[in-house]
């Protein structure tokens, strides 16, 4: 179980010497509790404290990096079961399956598709992260040949070598030496040989079993052979089993610190019906998968899955904010009034509700103030005349309106003069202080 701030504090030197870069030992302890600092920043911790804290702070899901270079994927490090408790850390990787029974041209085509899959969404680059090369032929030579094609056409993309045949694995893994591939993998029948291959080639070892009991026994044995980095598959293929097993694995790791299951999860969800596959993807993404293996990567499907992954892996604890933009309320005409407020969701909902009540079609410019209310944002220097002027100018709302008039919240009446200075040609009108007076205010304007 994770320790609380005060519990950690009791183990620290309590001198408040600031050498760790924090104002007090307690502040440092709180950061440690939130895993936002590491113990080595304090030069004076006792050995005993190091021992206790070291154990408590080891991540329950083992961190590891899959692949190498700028396309490498980080996995593991998760600390919670529900995203509202704390951010989910490392977004799951999407891998597309390529069978070695395909022609070289087909393999090359899919590899290229993977390379071209990258899109930009709200400032993040999203892509199909990996290729799962399946030894469908059962032939070591074919797998190696396919591996070479993939290595050439999708250079740098992390690869899963999907075979239980040790010779095939050995042949293919050489193609990705130093690239930290993942060999999937080890089973009860072959794990000793596979463990040696993984060790010799510094590969991550995928471990497959049927059921969690068998899986934990297997990872325990493999760990005994000196392989630390594993990715686990409980054998779940149906939606129901995926939820059940993934949940039990993550729960065991986080709540019981059960090491044999403290590894990233791989889910194979390939289906004929691509949309159905996407929906299984939803389950894998939301329920703890670290790698999701797909059979096809149509653009529409990628976009949907990328977006969901992005949504699920955002930080849930920043204040609720609305997107910065000019919102139409009703169907505004050029002569409709223009209001401005901050993007704290409570503020937005109250103000837009009152404007709606007034039944006067309007525009409401909502400015990004990091989710602070009007007065708080003003107090913190985030809702200032120059920032408002810049936002209004950049929003381009000017071209949609007949008269350049901006209605500001009554609480920041003090800003009206300076906004006028900074927005030449605009008239700044001070609205009422409380939003509930907006309908009357609009009525009085006629």
């Amino acid at each position: 179980m994770a320790l609380t701030g005060v519990e950690i504090f009791k183990l620290l030197p309590k001198t408040n010497c600031k050498k760790c870069g924090h104002p007090t030992c307690l502040a440092f302890a709180m950061k440690l509790a939130q895993r936002q600092a590491t113990l080595d920043s304090c030069p004076d911790v006792s050995e005993e404290a190091k021992k206790v804290l070291g154990e408590a702070s080891a991540p329950p899901v083992r961190p590891m990096t899959f692949g190498a270079g700028d396309k490498a994927v980080k996995m593991g490090e998760e600390t919670v079961l529900f995203r509202h408790d704390k951010k989910f850390v490392n977004p799951c990787a999407f891998a597309v399956e390529i069978k070695d029974t395909l022609s070289e041209a087909d393999i090359a085509a899919i590899a290229e598709e993977v390379v071209k899959s990258e899109i930009d969404r709200v400032g993040q680059k999203l892509r199909i992260d990996a290729i799962a090369l399946t030894n469908a032929s059962g032939d070591a030579g074919k797998l190696e040949a396919a591996a070479k094609t993939v290595a050439a056409k999708a250079a740098g993309v992390p690869v899963i070598i999907n075979t239980q045949n040790t010779q095939a694995a050995e042949a293919a893994v050489k193609v990705f030496s130093d690239k930290r591939p993942l060999i999937y993998g080890a089973t009860a029948a072959n794990f000793e040989a596979m463990a040696n291959i993984a060790k010799a080639n510094k590969a991550i070892l995928g471990v497959g079993a049927s059921g969690l009991d068998e899986l934990s026994t297997l990872t325990d044995k493999i760990k005994g052979l000196g392989v630390e980095d594993m990715v686990i598959d409980s054998g779940a293929r149906k939606a129901k089993e995926i939820i059940e097993n993934n949940t039990l694995i993550r729960r065991a790791a986080i709540k019981k610190n059960f090491k044999p299951l403290g590894f990233p999860i791989i889910n194979f969800i390939q289906r004929e019906d691509s949309l159905h596959e996407a929906l299984l993807g939803v389950i894998a993404i939301t329920k703890y998968a670290s790698i999701v293996v797909l059979s096809s990567i149509e653009k529409w499907k990628n976009l949907a899955l990328f977006t969901l992954r992005q949504n699920i892996y955002t930080d849930p604890q920043v204040p609720m904010q609305v997107e910065q933009k000019v919102y139409p309320i009703g169907e505004p005409k050029p002569e409709s009034p223009l209001f401005i407020t901050t993007n704290f969701s409570l503020t937005y909902f109250i103000v837009s509700g009152e404007i709606e009540n007034s039944k006067v079609a309007s525009r409401l410019a909502v400015m990004d103030c990091e989710g602070l209310s009007v007065l708080t944002a003003w107090a913190a220097g985030k809702f200032t005349a120059s920032k408002i002027a810049q936002f209004i100018t950049e929003s381009g709302v000017e071209k949609d309106i007949a008269t350049k008039e901006l209605i500001i919240p009554g609480y920041v009446a003090i800003l009206s003069g300076s906004i006028e200075d900074k927005l030449p040609g605009w008239k700044i009108t001070v609205g009422p202080r409380e939003a509930n007076a907006i309908p009357a205010f609009l009525r009085s304007r006629g």
Binding site: L3, T4, G5, V6, E7, F9, K10, K14, N16, P23, T24, C25, L26, A27, M30, A33, Q317, P319, M320, L346, G371, L372, T376, W378, A379, A380, G381, I414, E434, N436, A437
Partner: protein, 517 residues
Amino acid sequence: LQYLHTVEPVLTPAVRRIVLELTPPSIQDNTGDLERMKRVLHEKGIHDMEFSHNFILEMPVILRDAEWEVCLSYTESHEAIGLSAFCKTKHYGVAVDIGTTTVVVYLVNCADGTLVDSGMTFNSQMRHGDDVITRIVYATEGGGLQELRDAIINDVNDLLAPIVEKNRINIEDIDSAVISGNTTMTQLFWGLDPSSIREEPYIPTVNIYPGWRAGTAHLKINPQAPVYTLPNVGSYVGGDIVAGVLASRMHKSPEISLFMDIGTNGEIAVGSSEWMITAACSMGPCFEGSGIRHGMRATEGAIESVKIEPSSFEPVLGVIGNGLPLGICGSGMIDAISELFFTGIIDQRGKLARDLSTDRIRTGDEGPEFVLYRGERKDIVLTEVDIENVIRAKAALYAGVSVLLKEVGLSLDILERIYIAGGFGNYLDVDKAIMIGMLPDLPLEKFSFIGNTSIAGAYLCLLSEKMRREAEETAKKMTYVELSASRGFMDEYMSALFLPHTNIDLFPTVRDLYEKR
């Protein structure tokens, strides 16, 4: 004073006095004046006294006039600041609390620790804004720094002048001072540009003030008097809170206590002798009467208690001074809202029940309102907007407490004592404050209302070196949590925006009473 003795029996003001009998010089004993004085000091065990140029300028005359028997005043850091012919028994100091709204001055006899006189006035910086932010903006953008500084210094001097006159005190005899205030107030007092307080990452210029002199401060007391400023913790937790903690003594107790100063900002501290964590909840000044339609401070004419008859909805009011009500103060608002809630006149969101049959609920300029008092010239009402405002403030306070406890991983029941400071006059009904969800639902005997602790802390520091050291240690120990950067604050805040709280199980006594009703 008695209280002072319980925490620190020895008076150790910042300025000490010592009688020195110097052997007059002669042809044989031709040591210089200063060396002569030092010799005697050595004999008394003082080896490192510092002497300023000014001091030396006047020294020879005084020595001779006094026929070599003098009284030396010096600071605790061993700087000579005064020399006189005979040791005056009179020896004074001033403790000053600079609040955003009010200024309080204590004139204290440093010889025996007694309070000679006190005075209080409104902070005349109010002209330039009710709250610290407006004043910071005025100081920086309006170029009003000097003006704000002068305003506060004049307030203090204006308070002192009549006291000094009335008690026939020589201002030279007031030779030490202590200032306690929030970070912005002390920075303005010393003429320091406060702009960085408001801007990210919210860093004050000074946390631990050097021992500057009254002359530098423009205080009209002995210009050489050292002025001790209570140290700040951060931009929004200032020396006034350190003073409060000091006065509560929670920093000396192994038990975990909670301190809250319910002023404009709502600062809180949780901790024990081992550790302490603190935050500013940014409540807003509504409990001081600001931003409330008929709000006022807890002075004569303020409604400070309200009882509402459940069947007729008629209120019974308690007014400070027992005269006609002029407005409503913080305690009155807490009382009123708790009663309105309990009698079903407002719902848990604080909205007035428009369908009740009473003409006390009506629609005013700002929307629905409840008439507390029908006056001949003016009615006194509590509007829905006022109620919302109070709910926001109490929510911010409660959420701040929850978040602080969560940050360190503790729960409410761990709290052994809760100290409440603030300008509620002499009355705060803890029961009612719990009822509206402003204070945690804990046994009443755990709460103590300790009034204006900023001045109390300043008073302690004036008289005791130990207290001054404790203040500094405490300030260093206090871990400041920036609520706006804190995960989970908004969530706690939203759930506290309900009467008493969205999660009624946190308020078992309120729940039981409510169900019984």
